[in-house]
């Protein structure tokens, strides 16, 4: 009963640039089935995550232009494997700052060591980043320079203390001179807005990420002004579930360092505010080789906060050859190969709403597109949780010192789509 037999890392051009086997060696030729699927899918994005071959299943994830392909020989819960592969990718990201082919190749010795510690005999072992970091030190620019001069390496030479604690997510004997606890409330709005501007579907996906640097064994309680807002909450294993059920208070002994405390959803339609609106007019004339494109963005239910970091991405129909547009602010690009229009807007000033208008050149003779393209919109609002969620207070028990506490809110667009 091996969970994961082998792992192959494959880049977008189909090169297997790294492989690791936890039991016997599985020939690379097993990846041919993956390549076959990749070819069939046309676009790399569309390669299905589970592929069956005569003797194995291949379960893969696609992250940062890389495929992590695992080879499975026995019945396994697929979610388990997928989650684990994402954890591997997260760990690379955490260690090298990016999860790219170059970073993995540059740090191949560390990658190897990490995989060895994360999985033994095909079973997940140490996967918490703070524990791993004690086993294997992450490279820093400074350290890698020093390493190349002195020949020192990144292997930790003490036994990680976390391995001795009975709470798997926290090591014993943590000590800080400055004791701090920070919480980030991050909300993403997923929405589909129809042609007329009314909301087809909207939902908030929220998370609270914590960065806890507290000495000893602190026991924390976090309460909200309006906990009933939260529809579906998933918890970090450290949270005492019964306490939440009865009092709606998050009570926990935190892991050391960065971790995701909870994730939640707010989905009742009337609670989800839509902070931007788009006025659009996109038209293609029958039997003519041009069309008109005109969009304007404005603030809607933004609770008086500035909306910034706006980008609009549009996949134009295949028959579009080029676009001649004028933005009132920001800059735009159109890639005639992928037909993707990107408009980097910046922030909205209500006095003068940003707009982008001009002409669309179509392939002559081709029938006009049946459907107008959808607009994908990105934005960011600082110091606002759009659901209205507010942290009431944070209390600490079990330790005597006074920690420094802080909460930050931010709202972003998730899959925010406007149909035209």
């Amino acid at each position: 009963m091996k969970m994961i037999h082998s792992l192959f890392l494959i880049n977008c051009s189909g090169d297997i640039f790294l492989e690791k086997h936890w039991k016997s060696v599985v020939s690379q030729s097993v990846c041919d089935y993956f390549f076959e699927a990749q070819e069939k899918a046309a676009d790399v994005e569309n390669v299905p995550p589970v592929i069956s071959t005569p003797h194995h299943y291949l379960i893969s994830i696609y992250r940062d232009k890389l495929f992590f392909v695992s080879v499975i020989q026995t019945e396994v819960p697929p979610l388990f494997v997928i989650e684990f592969l994402h954890r591997v990718a997260d760990t690379f990201q955490d260690y090298f700052g990016e999860c790219s082919e170059a970073a993995i190749k540059d740090n191949v010795v560390i990658v190897y060591e990490l995989l060895e510690e994360m999985l033994d005999n095909g079973f997940p072992l140490a996967t918490e980043s703070n524990i791993l970091k004690e086993l294997i030190k992450p490279p820093t620019i400074l350290r890698s320079v020093v390493n190349s001069i002195t020949g020192s390496s990144n292997v930790g030479d003490t036994l990680p203390t976390g391995q001795l604690s009975n709470i798997p997510w926290r090591r014993a004997g943590v000590k800080y001179t400055n004791n701090e606890a920070y919480f980030d409330v991050i909300e993403e709005i997923d929405a589909i807005i129809d042609k007329s501007g009314s909301t087809v579907f909207a939902e908030i996906q929220g998370v609270i990420d914590a960065c806890i640097k507290l000495s000893g064994m602190p026991d924390l309680s976090l309460s909200f002004m309006n906990p009933r807002l939260l529809d579906d909450v998933s918890f970090h294993p450290c949270i005492r579930f019964k306490r939440w059920e009865s009092e709606r208070v998050l009570s926990f002994i935190p892991p050391d360092g960065n971790f995701r405390l909870i994730s939640y959803r707010v989905s009742s339609q009337n609670l989800v505010a839509i902070p931007v609106y788009v006025k659009h007019s996109i038209s293609f004339k029958e039997n003519s080789s041009c069309g008109r494109f005109d969009i304007t963005i404005g603030p809607k239910q933004n609770m008086g906060k500035t909306i910034e970091g706006i980008t609009v991405t549009v996949h134009m129909p295949k028959v579009v050859l080029n676009m001649n547009l004028t933005p009132t602010q920001g800059s735009y690009t159109f890639d005639p190969v992928t037909k993707v229009l990107t408009w980097d807007v910046g922030k909205i000033t209500p006095q003068k709403l940003p707009s982008l208008k001009g002409l669309v050149n179509l392939q002559s003779g081709a029938p006009k597109p049946e459907e107008n393209p959808s607009l994908n919109i990105q934005f960011k609002i600082q110091q606002l949780a759009i659901s209205g969620l507010k942290v009431n207070r944070l209390d600490m028990y079990g330790e005597k010192y006074k920690p420094f506490k802080g909460v930050k809110y931010v709202t972003k667009a998730g899959k925010f789509q406007v149909r035209t």
Partner: protein, 784 residues
């Protein structure tokens, strides 16, 4: 699939192989991978040195006493060896020097050397024995990290004869005071067992591992489970008894997510003794339904479903409670999680059709999602449609029909087609509008949908017939042409220009590339000829002439000849043979899977089955059947491939049956499906019983055997449907009708038989049932 062997300079690869240096001497299968064969982005990171030169240079460095004296320089050289090794160069040449390097107090250096040894030990078994001394010594090092590393490396050496050296260190490791070492030692037990060739189970070791389930370190506990499972796999894996089950349940909250997911899986084997205990366990599990890890949530859900298999309301309740987490997973950042979650949503919908109906908007596709997610979402939308949301769902699906991706657009059209079985008018209207777009890929699928629809829902025939004219201009592919021609043939009398459209096909029959289209054309034209002879006679003659005289495809030619001879027999005979019913609404009822009980899929939940279907998984795991000791897979009977053939001797046995009783069943009883349905609904069940039925099922064989004893099959589910149903009819010489329903439920391996009779006569009923029993019993016997 072609087997391409990739020759690598390094022979043994239990490690990462970095493909940095292009192998120019090997044949690059570039054609297979298309443009992706070689990667222009990879720049050579270093000049290619023959591995011999490198080895020589490194060997010299490793032996250099000055370097050995300088800890950092020594370590640096070793790191270079590792780096080359992972890049695929054969570094086995410096094995001796590396073994020497392992005798050091520098733990970093040790770790690197161990890495090296595990890779090359099988190539140099005699030299590796030297390393074992060092490793053994390290297993009693004061530093627990060193002990753990040494033990793990030793267990991973995988060379013959290593067992005798590792046994003692493992046993010591199991009692080590550092949990890090115990974790390694526990997994080492399984590795050692594998080295022994899985032959005998060391009872003392197993007991030791069972007692370590009480270890205070949570990972040691989970590793014990994993290790025992592997060692005891011949006996069906680790046994979870009551004390172990409750011990694990109490430790659950201390485990990490991987441990929790695995323990939940092991607990599936435990059967609580009493209802009280069952509900205690369910209470303990409750909080895991809200875990942050979808894997744990799904594991807990499955355990709930399995434990509560006798309490359907508890099962439903659990599915309601995980609705939130499951929906959240469906819109997770990880597309792969979304996909698997969607597959499970479909599974749940099979039992609780209304479960996600109010969340239908969750399953609307967003433009940027990958294909496989969109396709799943469309399937889900089809299944959750109800009176309240049908309007919105159809509007949404209508939008997808014009998607840039033809595949996705077609999937959306098929989806509308399947919703049309319930909401016919709205759907037919949408489909008709789509024809107006005059797009080839859309028209062909719409016409195929229409064909399937009129067969199941005859009430829409009129609307479909009105929409058809003009379609022929936009259909090029075989499937689409066949569907159009079939419709024109069967319903041609309602389509004014049907003969002219078919005439165009006849004109171009020479250049028609698909034989299937020609076959369809022959049948359709002959049918239309029956209803509109004047318009069709001439071209039918031309078509038959072409097919018989010029056609090269044998099947088409034979079909042409067959129709020609049939026409010679006379028009009445043609009518009798060709004019079959034009629709069969009962098929829809049969095809429509009834709400399946949760228990029919609970054991497949959180496995790969919902993703790929049971049969696919069965074929794959069969290859490992020898080593598997899990639940037995259904045996495929010997004649599965060859089709419904009853061995000769059995045929005789079957035929004897009718004579044994006083009952005489009339041959060739003709009952229409309509009549059957009416009668069936009007009668009460006269007799019901259950017969055992193990393993696979071959409807064709059964149908054939029943026919032999003059029991006719009116309708049956397709092969492989679960549950499988069939409706049978028979009549005895006194005119008494027997209507029978067979219901095969694979999950409790039994066949339920319900018989209805139009006259109440217990004697004949008994004989009839004994006939049925014998037939089914015989088939069951042949099969096994």
């Amino acid at each position: 699939m072609s087997q391409k062997k990739r020759q690598k300079p390094v022979v043994w690869v239990e490690q990462i192989l970095l493909k940095m240096l292009p192998h120019q001497d090997e044949e690059e299968p570039a054609s297979y991978r298309g443009s992706s064969g070689s990667c222009p982005g990879t720049v050579r990171k270093m000049p290619y040195l023959g591995s011999e030169d490198v080895v020589k240079e490194l060997k010299k460095a490793l032996c250099n006493p000055h370097i050995q004296a300088d800890r950092l320089r020594y370590r640096n050289v070793i790191q270079r060896v590792i780096r080359y090794m992972t890049q695929g160069l054969d570094m086995s040449g410096v094995f001796m020097e590396m073994v020497k390097a392992s005798a050091t107090v520098d733990i970093v250096q040790k770790k690197l050397v161990y890495l090296y040894m595990c890779t090359y030990a099988p190539l140099k078994p005699d030299l590796a024995l030297l390393a074992i001394n060092t490793l053994c010594k390290d297993c009693s090092d004061p530093n627990p990290m060193v002990r753990g590393l040494a033990l793990r490396s030793m267990c991973s050496l995988r060379m013959p004869g290593v067992q005798e050296y590792i046994q003692q260190p493992i046993l010591n490791g199991l009692r080590d005071k550092a949990s890090y070492v115990r974790r390694v030692a526990v997994l080492g037990c399984a590795k050692m067992h594998n080295l022994h060739g899985d032959s005998e189970v060391d009872g003392a070791l197993v007991n030791e591992l069972y007692s370590l389930l009480r270890d205070q370190d949570p990972i040691v506990v989970v590793n014990c489970l994993r290790s025992l499972e592997e060692i005891l796999k011949q006996e069906g894996g680790i046994v979870i008894n009551k004390p172990i089950a409750h011990h694990l349940l109490n430790r659950m909250s201390k485990l990490d997510q991987w441990g929790q997911a695995e323990v939940l899986n092991f607990l599936l084997r435990y059967q609580p003794r009493s209802e009280e205990e069952l509900f205690d366990i369910l209470n303990l599990l409750d909080s895991f339904l809200k875990s942050g890890s979808p894997g744990v949530v799904m594991g807990a859900t499955k355990l709930f479903l399995i434990l509560a298999k006798k309490f359907p309301h508890v099962q439903t309740d659990v599915l309601v409670r995980v609705k939130g987490p499951l929906l959240a997973a469906c819109s997770s950042e990880s597309r792969e999680l979304c996909f698997v979650a969607l597959c499970h949503v479909r599974q749940i919908l099979h039992s609780l059709p209304g479960h996600f109906s109010s969340h239908y908007k969750k399953f609307f596709c967003s433009y940027s999602e990958p294909h496989y997610i969109k396709l799943q979402k469309v399937e889900v939308l089809c299944e959750l449609v109800n009176d309240e949301n049908v309007q919105q769902v159809l509007e949404e699906l209508r939008g997808y029909c014009t998607d840039v991706s033809a595949d996705f657009a077609q999937a959306a059209i098929f989806a509308i087609g399947s919703i049309a079985r319930t909401y016919t008018d709205q759907c037919v209207q949408i489909l008709t509008e789509l024809l107006g777009l005059r797009q080839e890929h859309i028209t062909t699928v719409v016409v195929q949908t229409f064909r399937d629809l009129v067969w199941l829902c005859p009430q829409c025939t009129e609307a479909v017939c009105q929409a058809l004219p003009g379609c022929e201009e936009n259909i090029q592919d075989s499937e689409g042409k066949q569907a159009l021609i079939w419709l024109l043939g069967v319903h041609g009398e309602r389509i004014p220009n049907a003969p002219y459209v078919l005439e165009d096909f006849v004109e171009n029959v020479k250049s028609e590339t698909f034989p299937a289209v020609k076959m369809e054309l022959l049948t359709a034209l002959l049918r239309l000829f029956l209803s509109r002879p004047a318009e069709c006679q001439d071209m039918l003659g031309r078509l038959l002439y072409y097919c018989i005289e010029e056609e090269k495809d044998m099947a088409v030619r034979d079909r042409g000849l067959f129709y020609y001879r049939l026409l010679l027999v006379g028009i009445d005979e043609v009518k009798r043979i060709l004019c079959s019913p034009k629709s069969d609404p009962t098929l829809g009822l049969l095809e429509d899977p009834a709400e399946r009980p949760v228990n029919s899929w609970a054991s497949d939940f959180n496995t790969l089955v919902p993703v790929y279907g049971k049969s696919r998984w069965a074929t794959i795991s069969k290859c490992h059947g020898a080593e598997r000791c899990g639940p037995e897979l259904p045996k495929t009977s010997s004649f599965a491939a060859s089709g419904p053939l009853i061995p000769e001797e059995n045929k005789e046995r079957v035929q004897e049956v009718p004579d044994s009783g006083a009952l005489m069943l009339v041959p060739n009883l003709q009952l229409t499906a309509d009549y059957f349905e009416k009668t069936w609904l009007s009668l009460k069940v006269a007799h019901q019983q259950v017969l055992p039925w193990q393993g696979e099922f071959h409807p064709d064989t059964l149908q054939m055997a029943l026919q032999v004893v003059n029991i006719q099959t009116i309708a049956m589910s397709r092969a492989g449907a679960r549950p499988w149903k069939a409706y049978l009819s028979a009549q005895d010489d006194t005119g008494c009708l027997f209507l029978t329903e067979l219901l095969w439920k694979p999950e409790n391996s039994e066949m339920q038989i319900s018989v209805k009779q139009n006259e109440t006569r217990t004697e004949t009923l008994k004989s009839f049932i004994s006939v049925l029993e014998t037939v089914i019993g015989t088939i069951e016997e042949i099969k096994s």
